[in-house]
């Protein structure tokens, strides 16, 4: 296919880019064991002290719990709404189809600060709602819908309607077709979309800053807040290092069960 020279070049390039991607993460891991409180390099010593601090930090666990709840809530909403929208766009012809696609993509393409300010203005001045966990979930769901929509839509496009038509021809109702034919084929895309949506919601800080109320702290907000605290910055490295390592599991799962990597969409 490609010449040997070209293959070598892209392989070398790949290695270089991977080094670029992982060098900072390696530094984070190193700093999680660094005795210095302020990320100084070279590390002044080795310690597991920060790990025990992190384990005992109730603030960290609470915010981690909140992030998980928000992520699950937003992902659940996104799964339902995104799949519905994807089906509508992919399986039906109707006026304004392109507008729908455009509209769905908008939340994730607009800068977070714009979305954040807009939602905040709406919640507080226009609607007078108290900010809390629910408003954060609403904010996150809005851009998570896109991710599920894209992945589902891409998979639906690749699948085509042959099998669904055959099922209908054989006498199945639409619900039965969906349940026994379409859904199993689509499951992988849903899993991939859900995991990616969860990941983005988990790390989101800008929109969250503007939509979280007084009592709500998600993990990124906790991290941001603790970066300012005199003695707590290294604990954050611990949390980040741990999360990155743990995250390999769902990512791997998403790819294995997501089926064809080529249909992965942000």
């Amino acid at each position: 296919m490609l010449s040997a020279g070209a293959r070598r070049t892209v392989k070398a390039w790949t290695v270089m880019v991977l080094v670029f991607l992982y060098a900072p993460l390696l530094l984070v891991v190193i700093n999680a064991f660094n005795t210095s409180r302020t990320f100084a390099f070279p590390p002044s010593g080795f310690t597991l002290h920060w790990w025990s601090d992190a384990w005992n930090s109730t603030g960290m666990w609470t915010s981690l719990g909140n992030s998980v709840v928000v992520g699950l809530g937003a992902t659940a909403l996104a799964l339902v709404l995104g799949t519905m929208a994807a089906f509508a766009v992919q399986r039906y012809e109707f006026f304004g189809r392109n507008t729908v696609s455009f509209l769905v993509v908008l939340p994730i393409t607009l800068p977070g600060i714009v979305t954040g300010i807009a939602l905040n203005a709406t919640f507080t001045s226009a609607l007078g709602i108290t900010l809390g966990l629910a408003t954060v979930i609403v904010g996150h769901a809005t851009f998570c819908i896109v991710i599920v929509f894209n992945n589902t839509q891409a998979r639906l496009r690749r699948l085509g309607t042959n099998l669904e038509d055959a099922s209908a021809d054989l006498g199945a109702t639409s619900w039965q077709t969906f349940r026994y034919v379409t859904f199993p084929m689509m499951r992988g895309a849903l899993v991939a979309g859900a995991i990616l949506a969860f990941a983005l919601s988990f790390d989101e800080i800008v929109v969250t800053t503007f939509t979280a109320g007084p009592a709500v702290q998600t993990l990124p907000i906790w991290i941001f807040g603790n970066l300012f605290r005199p003695n707590q910055a290294p604990v954050i490295n611990v949390v980040a290092a741990a999360l990155t390592v743990v995250a390999i599991i769902p990512v791997w799962l998403a790819q294995r069960f997501g089926g064809d990597p080529a249909t992965t969409r942000i």
């Binding site: 210095s36 409180r37 302020t38 990320f39 507080t124 007084p214 970066l227 300012f228 605290r229 005199p230």
Partner: protein, 395 residues
């Protein structure tokens, strides 16, 4: 394409209609006098909950370090469960207080007046706070925490913005702010400064001593010309600045890694650098004086739990607790009796906690207003002009 244009046109027209419909011709409101609000008459039982906005480190509940906790004992004693929202800047705190969802805030002087005049905080009945009587006298009835003799909060602690420098790189032991202004070229690219429009006051303070012809008396009461002079000085300074800082760890790390060698600081930053012992730094209060901050606990006018807030204010200014906070954060405690309770015996000396002369050299953060805060007239520049200028300085 044409239909897109038509649709766009309709949308714009609809938006315009919406804008006009939602607008009204309300009056902008004054700034001449704070709204009439009543302080709490009598202290009742705790309501069971308290929502606070605080600077990082002011309301520690053991969630970050189990040994650093003065909130849990408070919760046990008062029955008020405390939720703390950390405010990163005064401006954030003002915004958060406006939502009315909090009971109180630890406001610095550049936030307090804005809160008072917007009616976001109520006057404080100091007789309901027993520890108030032994608060250091020179913190009471000051321009940033009182209006016409009525206190709007309980003082918490204070500190000065000092000049810090790396001893190895800055060998001539500076004693003047000129080291970061007119002579900053010596350390080009390694100077640092506080990232907030309130820093303009530092430049104004320097000019008040070096260019008396400008007539600057109070760094927070600047006419347009005086403000422009300060802005020119800061624009010149920017050429030498490596980076601005607004969070401790950034400042500490900048000095330890050699990114910054000289600049404005808080004592706590110098202490952290000292503990890490990677670089040696020295702090000095320059001969021109310094700006600083004096924080006050204030009660929200929409507080859902005012009794708990008063109990908190009494708790945080009690001798043992005020000492704990001051030592953890690295500032001078407002409570004069706290000096007997610090673990480091000469803590109060280092921070000049009861030294009125030292404290008088400090120009505490105050929100600049049109009506000069030093009472010299009403042709001064207001804070939003300072913000615009600050953005111009940073370019």
């Amino acid at each position: 394409m044409k239909s897109t244009v038509l649709r766009l046109g309709f949308t714009l027209a609809a938006c315009a209609a919406l804008v006009v419909a939602c607008s009204s011709s309300q009056n902008g409101g004054g700034g001449e006098a704070p709204p009439k609000l009543e302080p709490l008459g009598a202290l009742g039982n705790g309501e069971g909950e308290l929502n606070l906005i605080a600077w990082a480190g002011y309301a520690e509940n053991g969630s970050n370090d189990p040994t650093i906790d003065w909130v849990t004992p408070f919760e046990k004693e008062s029955g008020c469960k405390v939720n703390v929202k950390v405010g990163n800047t005064s401006d954030e705190m003002v915004q958060l207080m406006r939502t009315g969802q909090y009971d109180g805030v630890s406001a610095s002087g550049d936030a307090s007046l804005r809160l008072i005049y917007a009616g976001d905080v109520s006057p404080v009945n100091t007789s309901l706070v027993p520890n108030y009587s032994t608060i250091t006298p020179f913190l009471k009835d000051r321009p940033w925490n009182s209006v016409d003799g009525q206190m709007y909060g309980i003082p918490h602690g204070w500190g000065a913005n000092l000049l810090m420098y790396n001893i190895a790189d800055v060998t001539d032991a500076p004693d003047s702010w000129g080291a970061v202004f007119t002579d900053a070229g010596k350390y080009k690219g390694k100077v640092t400064a506080y990232d907030s429009p309130i820093y303009i006051a530092d430049a104004a303070l320097y000019l008040s001593k070096t260019k008396p012809e400008l007539g600057i008396k109070d760094p927070y009461s600047l006419t347009s010309e005086q403000l422009d002079a300060a802005v020119e000085l800061l624009k010149a300074q920017k050429e030498n600045i490596g980076e601005y800082w607004s969070d401790y760890t950034k400042a500490v790390q900048a000095f330890e890694s050699g990114t910054s060698v000289i600049g404005t600081t808080w004592q706590v930053i110098a202490n952290l650098i000292g503990t890490d012992n990677k670089v040696q730094v020295n702090t000095v209060l320059p001969k021109e004086g310094a700006t600083g901050w004096s924080d006050t606990w204030m009660v929200s006018s929409k507080a859902a739990h005012p009794n708990c807030m008063y109990k908190w204010m009494d708790w945080i200014t009690s001798p043992e607790i005020n000492a704990q906070v001051a030592e953890y954060f690295g500032e001078a405690p407002a409570q004069s009796k706290a000096c007997d309770h610090t673990t480091e015996k000469d803590f109060c000396e280092i921070y000049h906690a009861t030294d009125e002369k030292f404290a008088a050299q400090i120009h505490y953060w105050t929100t600049p207003q049109k009506q000069c805060v030093d009472g010299s007239g009403d042709n001064c520049t207001a804070y939003d002009e300072w913000v615009d200028k600050w953005q111009q300085i940073k370019g």
